[in-house]
Symmetry: C2
């Protein structure tokens, strides 16, 4: 019943990794045996012969990255990392998928030494890997004048059939080909079986043609159980000088188990009998978590010999850099991603008004031209979002120093790539229209989960988009963004608050932020306060006579509230206007401050052109929230406002009605 | 200054359509001239020579569909539809992008005769067109026994460079190739310029290879200004018998204007001088909205001769069908999409418990096997979502009658294709895990906007997913779905409510619904009520002694509330439990009912394992909402519950604390 293939030491190690992975899954009563058995030789080949890491310093900055895009193969990843010598113990493997373990169900960035990204939702890993490879090209170019190839890591990905089906992977792979990311190497675990059975039920794709069509190098490994063939293919891929490489490795899902080649082995643990039979076949005694010390030693020796003191060497090189370069490395390797924009110079326009997006564009330019570790791009909306930065060049295969990234109409890949850039210490930004932010949600969710300090610049906020109509007028997106844990959402009212919002965003040590900006010209108010944005909300205009009501608002609607308050004042009705550019931040202030801004006994009315429900945390009367709960309409802005009774006169009537 | 090309009547009509489109944009002071000038010959060729329509009956059921995926070309579409003879007037064109006009900024389904889908967000149109082409194959096969080729329409798409960059288009096009959708013909307006400039800045893609790799037929038209070449290419595409066709038409953006070939002409109206110069070149007098009657007559005559009384012929054919087939046609062509599931038979399991997804699966099977106009599929999660239906076969190129659609891991395309199916009168469903529902949001948004009655089946609800960890545990998705206008969101607690939810969903005449289901075994409660789901919320268990507090809950947490209420009862604490499977529906009940269920004077506590903020519309005390505001953790379900203090004991303590 033993395997007939040659029992080289390599194969013995691979089989031990296989059995260990299976033991983890059996022990957890949950997990994905199929990929662990099928792809073990791939990870072994990579870690034994190729990937540059320092197991003593898992965060060694110039390490080759490995992204387990097929995150359900976590057991295989953890057991390989254990074998390779990362600080992961056998006990950790025994706690696979248990509370507070460092070996969670899918890889989680920051939890496990050697895990470079949180993966699980298919397509995300491979797409973010493109960002990681772009970061390498950018940083390589940036430092080259000072120290050639200071940064020159490879980015490796294990991708499954499912990863390559996801739209984001197509989007991102096109960019990888366009940008000649030759140090990106995708190891494609081509087993032809997905959860619902054969891939061919939904897919009839010629892989070589597909990747050739987007300027990739394609290598095929016929025998995915042969470590030697795989290692040779990776060696070949590393010699490629212009194109990214995909190595299509023909594997068999659940290899060597009785269910091999079927989808039954994808996501259900093997039975006791099946495990016994498998171990018999692999010639490993049927005792859970058996590890052969000689095999472990052999693997670790290999890794150590190849990667001897890589971190120390890197540190030495950094020490010889000039101060400017050192500072950049400090930032890139720091966990604290805050940047103090205290001295942000801002030239106010002559007329006391400016388009929200224009203000944002000026600020962004001043930041991007100053900090080498801030770069970003747009999903084909550089111009209308005002996020193109002059003087910093365009990122391209001929100019990796460029900082304007052309993503094309690929919002999802933009968000995923931003995750990749941020995982390399960069503080990226990404822009599109707010209405299209939902294309990015799957990747924004991962950014939130990984605490990545990305700035999303979403312009063309609200129904005030006007003529382009409902498809382009965000309604629910504001609320949906506010729903995301760890995402800070700013909806500033004018120049003063936009400056304040940027300062707060960049003062954050971690976590992503979204800034929502109007396409329209906004008056610059004399009552808005840059320094109060940090509190999320504050009194913009106070009562002058009696304390009749408080208007609470954000963004473009704030100036309308100020106007209405002034009008009501002239009627002797005292109105306070509270600006809330960031409601969650406001709600996290201490009770004393909140009560001071919003005294319990005074009537409160919210005006916001969206259907965000966050206000009901403040407003205990459904009638006192003036908002929009349906999709927009196509018409000039002022007509749209009138249609929704969001013009000043209608708002004023409604407010007066509520106050009565 | 006149054009040098031959002024055939065709070119004269094309130029008149061009000038008309430009007049609309100039008049609206807003719109996209580039595509209108560049792609006018494409639409002309299609409408003059190919597309089968009945301008007197724009909804003629077997019409060829046309999807303007590049929705920003709306002015061109409207002026072409006007020229073709649809009931659109010159006044309508003059109201382009104005309030209440039938010519909105981007095409809107249901607003304009001849517009087959709402488009604007790039990638959506072409992806939904795949669904429209699948509907044709399915319906063709369904009716073939009774009347060969009763349904045999072509699906035409105008796609821009941006459409083909979007990930969803890749996903959907793979499926089109896999399913041999030979009657899908994509007219690719290949002008090589997107909003930010040349496409080549982000894209280096060999189109022929790309589409060849996924089993498409590729035709190239070198001169995109030649109506004849385009028409010939479409003719050729129609003879293709197995593959979908993409016709790459080399056009020039803003053709004949001074800005032709540049991105400046993409989205900004031409200046007065530029318009004058253009019209001079086109030999059209510079009077806005000039239409040459002879050209209009010529075009309309062509269309009429070719499409004479198509609707009448179709109606005649239908009248000769048997009753069963007639009934299906009635449903497909009806605006009322409700289905009465009154007599839904449901076999309760022996033990009084069942997995939520299993209950759902049984109900779905009974529906899908019964109604020919209900079909759907899964994004590679048929098995875990329990949405594979036995006995109805798999949709494939060898069996278009099959009703299980294998989408592969392509959530976005699944949602877009579902829109396409629904646009053809079908009532489709689509399934994946709730955590991945956000991949589908851009298409769900359009379904909401178009009032399409799609059923989204999202299983693996909440942190109770357990071991698979935070990437697979939905937190914000519930709230985000509830944020979408026109989407009904059901989170039923057990078998009784799941049955109730399906009945309400299928009783809806329009609009999409989402049903959220646990992966876990749920007790079948004796207090839940199938017939009360229609109200969104109801009293599941009432006070027995004093009226101390009301627990409000949904989904999997309801049974916990019932248990806790029983425990507290034994301590003499009277608790009412209110089940709210659909909060928006509950809130839309009359005040009397709401007050009866939730009397103002009694303390209310919400328990829900998500961060949905909708509850604050009911609960005016932030402390009384027990929910989860951070991402989940990887561990067995009960450990996760304990971690979040959502186990029964912790919940009970919290509730007792609040009641105190």
């Amino acid at each position: 019943m033993l395997l007939e293939r040659e029992k080289t030491i390599d194969n013995k190690i691979i089989d031990n990794i296989r059995s260990l992975s299976i033991d983890m899954i059996t022990n957890a009563k949950s997990g994905h045996p199929g990929i662990c058995l099928g792809a073990a030789p791939i990870l072994y080949a990579l870690y034994k012969d190729h990937i540059n890491i320092d197991t003593n310093y898992p965060n060694y900055f110039n390490r080759d990255r490995f992204i387990m895009s097929a995150g359900h193969g976590s057991a295989l990843l953890y057991s390989t990392l254990f074998f390779a010598g990362f600080p992961i113990t056998l006990d950790d493997l025994k706690s696979f998928r248990q509370l507070d373990s460092i070996t969670p169900g899918h890889p989680e960035y920051g939890k496990t030494p050697g895990v470079d990204m949180t993966t699980g939702p298919l397509g995300e890993g491979i797409s973010s890997a493109v960002g990681i490879a772009m970061a390498e090209r950018y940083l390589n170019a940036y430092f080259n004048d000072k120290k050639k190839d200071l940064i020159n890591y490879y980015t490796y990905v294990l991708a499954s059939d499912g990863d390559l089906m996801e739209g984001a992977s197509y989007e991102a792979c096109v960019l990888a080909g366009n940008y000649n990311l030759n140090k990106l190497i995708v190891l494609y675990d081509m087993n032809g079986v997905c959860l619902d059975g054969e891939v061919s039920k939904s897919t009839n794709e010629n892989l070589t043609l597909r990747f050739s069509s987007i300027n990739w190098n394609v290598i095929t490994v016929e025998n995915g159980d042969s470590y030697e063939e795989i290692s040779k293919a990776i060696e070949e891929a590393k010699t490629e000088t212009t194109k990214p490489t995909i190595i299509a490795i023909k594997t068999i899902i659940g290899k060597h188990s009785i269910k091999e080649g079927t989808s039954d082995v994808h996501g259900t643990p093997l039975t006791e009998e099946e495990v016994t039979e498998l171990k018999n076949k692999l010639d490993i005694r049927d005792v859970p978590f058996t590890v052969f010390q000689n095999l472990l030693d052999e693997f670790r020796k290999n890794v150590n010999d190849r990667c001897f003191k890589l971190n120390d060497k890197f540190i030495n090189e950094v020490e010889n850099l000039d101060d400017e370069a050192k500072e950049v490395i400090d930032y890139l390797t720091s966990e604290d991603k805050s940047i103090d924009l205290k001295n942000l110079a801002y030239q106010l326009p002559e007329k006391m008004e400016e388009k929200g997006r224009v203000t944002s564009g000026k600020i962004l330019s001043s930041i991007v031209t100053k900090y080498p570790y801030i770069l970003g791009g747009s999903a084909d909306l550089f111009k209308p979002t005002c996020t193109y930065v002059d003087e910093v060049g365009d990122f391209s295969k001929d100019n990796y120093k460029g900082k304007n990234i052309y993503y094309g109409v690929r919002e999802h890949a933009m968000a995923a790539i931003s995750n990749g850039l941020a995982l390399c210490g960069i503080r990226p930004y990404a822009s599109t229209f707010l209405a299209f932010s939902n294309f990015m949600f799957p990747s924004i969710r991962l950014a939130c989960m990984m605490h990545l300090p990305i700035t999303y610049i979403f312009t063309h906020d609200s129904i005030s988009v006007g003529e382009d109509g409902p498809t382009h007028q965000p309604i629910e997106q504001l609320s949906q963004l506010r729903d995301m844990p760890n995402l800070e959402v700013f909806r500033p009212a004018d120049v003063n608050e936009i400056i304040g919002a940027y300062k707060v965003i960049y003062s954050n040590k971690e976590n992503p932020s979204a800034i929502l900006l109007s396409r329209n010209t906004l008056p610059i108010l004399n009552c808005t306060k840059t320094n109060e944005v940090v509190k999320g909300g504050y009194i913009a205009r106070d009562f002058q006579t009696d304390k009749k009501a408080i208007l609470i608002s954000s963004g473009e609607e704030l100036s309308k509230c100020i106007d209405i308050a002034t009008k009501l004042q002239s009627k002797g009705i005292g109105i306070r206007v509270v600006s809330v550019p960031n409601i969650n931040r406001f709600l996290s202030q201490d009770k004393e401050y909140i009560d001071e801004v919003l005294p319990v006994e005074i009537k409160k009315i919210v005006i916001e052109a969206s259907n965000s429900k966050d206000w009901y945390k403040i407003i205990y009367n459904l009638n006192n929230v003036i908002n929009i709960n349906e999709f927009g309409v196509s018409a000039p802005k002022d007509d749209v406002y009138k249609h929704f009774e969001f013009d000043i006169d209608s708002l004023q009537s409604k407010i007066e009605e509520i106050i009565k």
